[in-house]
Subunit: 238 residues, 6 copies
Amino acid sequence: MTTTLTDENRRKLRRVSTATLTTALFKRGFRNQFIQDVRPLAPLNESVVGEAFTLRYIPAREDLDKLSAFEGTSHPQRRAIEDCPPGHVMVIDSRKDPRAASAGGILVSRLMQRGVAGIVTDGGFRDSPEIAEMGFPAYHNRPSAPTNLIRHHALDINAPIACGDVAVYPGDIVVGDSEGVCIIPAHLANEIAPEAYEQTAYEDFVAERVRGGQGIFGLYPANDETKAAFAQWRPGWS
Amino acid sequence: MTTTLTDENRRKLRRVSTATLTTALFKRGFRNQFIQDVRPLAPLNESVVGEAFTLRYIPAREDLDKLSAFEGTSHPQRRAIEDCPPGHVMVIDSRKDPRAASAGGILVSRLMQRGVAGIVTDGGFRDSPEIAEMGFPAYHNRPSAPTNLIRHHALDINAPIACGDVAVYPGDIVVGDSEGVCIIPAHLANEIAPEAYEQTAYEDFVAERVRGGQGIFGLYPANDETKAAFAQWRPGWS
Amino acid sequence: MTTTLTDENRRKLRRVSTATLTTALFKRGFRNQFIQDVRPLAPLNESVVGEAFTLRYIPAREDLDKLSAFEGTSHPQRRAIEDCPPGHVMVIDSRKDPRAASAGGILVSRLMQRGVAGIVTDGGFRDSPEIAEMGFPAYHNRPSAPTNLIRHHALDINAPIACGDVAVYPGDIVVGDSEGVCIIPAHLANEIAPEAYEQTAYEDFVAERVRGGQGIFGLYPANDETKAAFAQWRPGWS
Amino acid sequence: MTTTLTDENRRKLRRVSTATLTTALFKRGFRNQFIQDVRPLAPLNESVVGEAFTLRYIPAREDLDKLSAFEGTSHPQRRAIEDCPPGHVMVIDSRKDPRAASAGGILVSRLMQRGVAGIVTDGGFRDSPEIAEMGFPAYHNRPSAPTNLIRHHALDINAPIACGDVAVYPGDIVVGDSEGVCIIPAHLANEIAPEAYEQTAYEDFVAERVRGGQGIFGLYPANDETKAAFAQWRPGWS
Amino acid sequence: MTTTLTDENRRKLRRVSTATLTTALFKRGFRNQFIQDVRPLAPLNESVVGEAFTLRYIPAREDLDKLSAFEGTSHPQRRAIEDCPPGHVMVIDSRKDPRAASAGGILVSRLMQRGVAGIVTDGGFRDSPEIAEMGFPAYHNRPSAPTNLIRHHALDINAPIACGDVAVYPGDIVVGDSEGVCIIPAHLANEIAPEAYEQTAYEDFVAERVRGGQGIFGLYPANDETKAAFAQWRPGWS
Amino acid sequence: MTTTLTDENRRKLRRVSTATLTTALFKRGFRNQFIQDVRPLAPLNESVVGEAFTLRYIPAREDLDKLSAFEGTSHPQRRAIEDCPPGHVMVIDSRKDPRAASAGGILVSRLMQRGVAGIVTDGGFRDSPEIAEMGFPAYHNRPSAPTNLIRHHALDINAPIACGDVAVYPGDIVVGDSEGVCIIPAHLANEIAPEAYEQTAYEDFVAERVRGGQGIFGLYPANDETKAAFAQWRPGWS
């Protein structure tokens, strides 16, 4: 049922903002695809785009969540870091609880080395100042130094999750910009990417007109005259 | 690794309060086994006791969560209602979101008919006035009329979940009284039940003494003299 | 554009629960018509039904909101109490702030004397124990003794408002039961009332069947066999 | 600087509601004397009145807050229970954190035996169903089974505290009714008590008039005619 | 009743911080004129000053708030963008809900072109990275990509509103700096501006003294000796 | 019972992150030593380290908390600013309430002049843009212009307090970095400092290896081979 995102559409989505995407999704009846209350640790130059690879945490329990849990190769958090496919975005369900870290600098650095596209949690990262300097797209609620095990027990890899009040299914297309993160249901990504790309062209046109002094009526949204003007302007945009 | 709760211990736990259980768990290092911010729809005469049978919700998505989802026999919420074993307690992870219902009167009535022991959600129930009159142990955050599908998508049956900031593993022993709900890790239930039962005897003794005018020093906790007095008193309690 | 609610439909809505109404509204695409986080001060025997008559508060300002503001006949809170038409429900936008009262026992008693059907605030009432004993449908977030002027400045009478995160337009049909309050857009009330009434009949049928031991598959929602059985049962219900 | 509350005024305050008191305090410039978001475990027949005797908690620390801390006679929580003077109201600063108990049934029972007038916390009580049946004025945010030591470290006895966002100084007059709890600064209690008592008489008069069909303009607040009518009615009230 | 802010006072207020203004207002009994929990999208070099021009949102309703609502010239959000007078500050009541945008980059750019002085919402802006780079004073709670219509229905233009728990009346003087936004009731602005300007001079003097090693006693607040020293220092400040 | 932090260990802690410290504390059973939801006003180059010197606020009361309270030399806030020993960190219990300022630019500047090491509040600072430019370690929840007296009454100097849900005892070692603030119980600081310093060396080694392409299994945590490699690498680190 899922269609693979084409390279062309992946490229187009990198030019598109999450704001534009929420409108395209709203047109199709989706009202809740923007992850609430997360922010990038550093601004991005272009949008990050990738398939969702998920990790689910439940609350920690004192007899299970000790430092020894990280030994070996089976702890789901560590496993996920090594298994997340390149080009994907890791999305973590931390139950909106930033009181202990979802992950830290070493794990995020490893993800970056492995070619993963980005990481999102509705909790918080530790070592957040280092992560902010890595040039790697990372989103959280707020910095959180306490070690993961104090609050979180890693459980499921790549199951459907909640993140920031949004449903995230593995394979959904995650798009993040300097504003935040939007989730495109997998089967809609190839349909929405070119539409949102064209809308981005239009909004650049509008922004140019507004800076030139034009009012918004008839411009945003467009009337017929504006549509014609845009058709003339469009070829120069890419 | 899990030991089955014996009938004797199940009987004992029905006499025990969640307050007494949290202390027994704290002695063993557990600080977070009381489900936060849920309450019974009606007071209970004795504690409800049963194995946890869990249901997990993630946020709804408009294209998946339509009324037609309830048709057939595969919707996980409906499936769970018919599959929850008698004597168990259904525990629902509603992500602490009571803005739409976790379940309603008809489903709760069905659980009751099937011999299920109780139901707990960290969201809310609809038809809450009817549920309150059923004489069935039910716990939620607050009443919530909106239909389940508006906010929730039922996903996993009997996987480990979060409920009210507590980790709940299938088979854990759920104990609820008029105060709230406590989760006993499965492997500790047979150890804790007799200890908490004896502590209940002791607290009844203390309560009697306090009502008789005795001060709390030396009584609560007990000094040697008090321990001796209790030893004499104890046989009359059951 | 608004159709007056017929007497027949008003009568029918008194038999209908807010839970049933949210489903009828959800079928039509409305996801947000249940006022969040308010509760009745006392349980109701049948649903209260009436047209919304609104009052809007903004935050108080110390130079404007003194006790002398209540003198005369122009203070909008006092004005609204005397002007709310019989049979209507007063709905107050208190910005979800229960730290000072939205109204108190004397004003609520006056509303009751005047034949008003009920009162709803997303803040709190003072004199709440007395209001609870009046037998008058009243809904709030929690009791709040501090006088209105400490936090609230009454402004608009009968303008569209927010109440508990729901849009309320004057003339919308307010339905409240022991669970909470649902807002039916005015133009839909005559359409929804008979449908919800019939759904109530069906749910009573289902409840009877479930109490008799029947499972929910095929029953809720109904398959063809169940629909036929209900058709036979229906004439005995009213 | 503090004046002792006279017996006559103590008696008068038992007839007065917290709503009436907040207005008397507001007249004198006090906007924040009602403890926010606490409620009585059981309704009261008349207001509880007593001097504040305070207890302050800070967050627990694992090496200090073990069960053994309750042994001996020096733990501040236990000390406070035995030291709170009869007729006073114990007020606990639990930092608005109900995730672990502020106190439980045995300690509250001991307070009651000792003639203490009531207890207030901005956290929660454990054994709340038993406390609710004691007939002892007790106020909290919500029930909380977990033992005190999990979250709270008892520190100061009878120092100024915060409770529910209100400043409480030892010796302030605490008045609680079925609605909640109001704090009267100690030096104002003898001034406010008779004034609030008379206002209560007036509000009973108004309530009677409103039930008889009179409108609120000129009645609440009173114009000269109403003042005269009240002067005639007043002698029959006590 | 409103006095127009003089050019001289407007110039003076640009040198004044919101911190200094809240103190001047507190002296006059105002405790609640700082908009809570909003922040500038980019730091400001001098304070923004302008008359409040308001916009009020209520919650969206699915049948009214569709993308087609933006067509034509009557949608209140679009209308307000074109109607807000140059030099004024647009202040939006978004009910403290940042889950959908209050406005976006194109509309804010248009405001800037039109000579409007700034924009404030207690919700969030979309296209926030672009807005941050415009050099236009803009304040919100947090970035929010989802289109306005998902949560908000624009209703009133230039009516009194709540913004961040503060009452804002059209024509009030809005002052914003890198810390946040303060609302000066219109009739007080010409009185407060010169006083706050002089206080700013004094605080610059104090800051210089503190950097030079002087202690705060006698300096802040000033004793007579300090007042004399300041009188000598003052002429060099502007 | 408190051991003085040695100069060597103070130096070592300046190289250590709060993330590393929370793990060292967790090993010893401490789960709650990171101050929740505060952030530095400006990033730090190395960690700030100092003994806690505390200040406690309770809610303001209108008759006590007037601007005249700041006159003289006895106001506890002003007193604390002059009395906090050089090298210490002032930690303020503002009850997590940032609606009025905990302190402002002049007082913070004075602390800096006096050689105090830093300041932490779980409320907010006014003049926050100036404080951010001082190069002085300062942590708060969010900027807050309103003058201290509107919400806060300064009470205790150097008593145990709550700050951001953490217990802070005078003399505890406060360590802050660009991520946040961690509290080390005084008696553990000399034990934890060298351990955390060595762990920092190890994490630098790990980070280097991860940037070089090594996976995390066997590396973090270390297996025997990795331990040997680190032993060889360690001498080059300082």
